[in-house]
Amino acid sequence: MKPPVLRCRHVTKRYGKFTALQDLSLEVYEGEIFALLGPNGAGKSTLIHCITGLAKQSQGSIEVLGFDTMRDFRTTRRLVGLVPQEINYDPFFTPLESLMIQMGLMGVEPNRERAEDLLKTFALDEKRDAYTRTLSGGMKRRLLVAKSLVHEPRLLFLDEPTAGVDVELRRELWQEVQDLRAAGTTIVLTTHYIEEAERLADRIGILHKGELLLVESRESLLERHAGRSLEDIYLELIRKADGRHAA
């Protein structure tokens, strides 16, 4: 087995008295699509934030390709891309300018050709010089994905990229995810659409109240629970965990 692209060891994250992540350990391997599932508030975004630098874990360590995300943050952030859950955009800049700026921020010399290629890939080339605020919701979402790819990350996080997105765009986004994986990018995604995880993911992790309940390949998980859908398996695990917490 190839060495992990991502290694989380005993990661705990507390906000005051609230524990968002509890002693979480996880490995993600090169070239795979890893789906992180869990109800709202399970800690999925918190984990992604700890890895990408938006938050700092209270305990434990996180490594990307062997580099510590706290100690070697300049290296790990060059290796990681993030599509955040919330749509954000800078009203001062056009899509083309936004991509050029993001390249520079990621430490890559801004390259107009690369920016224009990304605009074409995400069907934004006709809006390249428009004010970003005039873009539709779907276009803004696609711009976020394009921005996350400007520095050609080895590990890409998609934090609920299809939340509130129409069917057509959702299909386009997942096709793009598969293309990225085919090009060698490792992908970690969170989604509330379990059927999407079932279709796309190589491995699945289920997170609940800050604890990883399960990490398993999609194939073996479905094989173990023959005849049942991932959604049924997911709901059963969550209910069992809720029962344990209540007891």
Partner: protein, 253 residues
């Protein structure tokens, strides 16, 4: 340190205020020019000399410094706070950018804006009352260190603020009163006690008088004392802003 990231963030910040130049450059220029017209030209012709210089010249450095103080503060505070509110700060936080690059880029861009507006105010004043700069060295020193200090104060305010009202406290209830009471329009030698002594506790008095010495060669406070206060303010703000950025205060959860 990533020089590409530093350069990009600096250029981004300069382009941000350039794109809204009516609001960021022209508006303060017009406001300050009106102050100059009212206090310097209209009232100045009826006032006698202050500290041995015509009143119309006396108010010029004060107005230039007041403008630079306000604009350097507003540039960093509004940019950083808006990024926090609209979520685009994420673009910087996930990038390989350290506290030093953030500080240099934001402060550098704010200084550029403040210097542009300050220079324009000075040029407008020269059309009414021409006078050469008395001491270019002190002028540059105070312009550079005061704008850098206020830009860092703007960053600290933006990091601390959680709503627009918080941010408005500084320019409206701290900087503007302190600038007005810091000898922009008068010499503190005209004040009776205890107000003369109280005025000396105002750090903006030293900023205004430092630049006034550079412009005119007269001031209520010696340039060395003013430089001392400005340098201490600079170092304190440098320490606070650096520490807050390094810790990720109100940026990284």
């Amino acid at each position: 340190m990533s020089t590409v990231a530093l350069k990009t963030l600096f250029i981004k910040e300069v382009r941000r205020f350039s794109k809204v130049w009516l609001q960021t450059v022209l508006s303060p220029l017009v406001t300050t020019s009106l102050y100059f017209l009212v206090f310097g030209v209209a009232l100045g012709s009826r006032l006698r000399e202050i500290s041995g210089v015509p009143y119309i010249q006396f108010v010029v450095p004060g107005l230039v410094m007041m403008t630079m103080i306000r604009d350097s503060f507003l540039n960093t505070s509004s940019s950083l706070f808006q990024s926090k509110i609209n979520g685009t700060i994420t673009d910087i936080l996930v990038a390989p950018i350290g506290a030093l690059e953030m500080l240099l880029a934001y402060v550098g861009a704010a200084m550029i804006r403040a210097m542009i507006v300050g220079s324009l105010v000075y040029l407008v004043a020269l059309t009414f009352t021409w006078f050469p700069l008395h001491h270019i060295g002190w002028t540059v020193f105070f312009a550079v260190f005061v704008t850098a200090t206020l830009a860092m104060l703007g960053m600290v305010a933006a990091l601390w603020a959680e709503k627009f009202d918080h941010l408005a406290i500084f320019p409206n209830f701290v900087l503007l009163p302190l600038a007005f009471l810091g000898g922009v329009f008068y010499s503190i030698d005209l004040l009776p006690e205890p107000w003369h002594t109280v005025s000396r506790l105002n750090p903006l008095l030293y900023m205004v008088n430092g630049l006034r010495y550079g412009f005119l060669g007269v001031a209520d406070v010696s340039p060395v004392a003013s430089a001392g206060v400005v340098l201490i303010s600079f170092l304190v703000l440098l320490g606070v802003a650096s520490a807050l950025l390094r810790s990720g205060y109100n940026l990284r959860s």
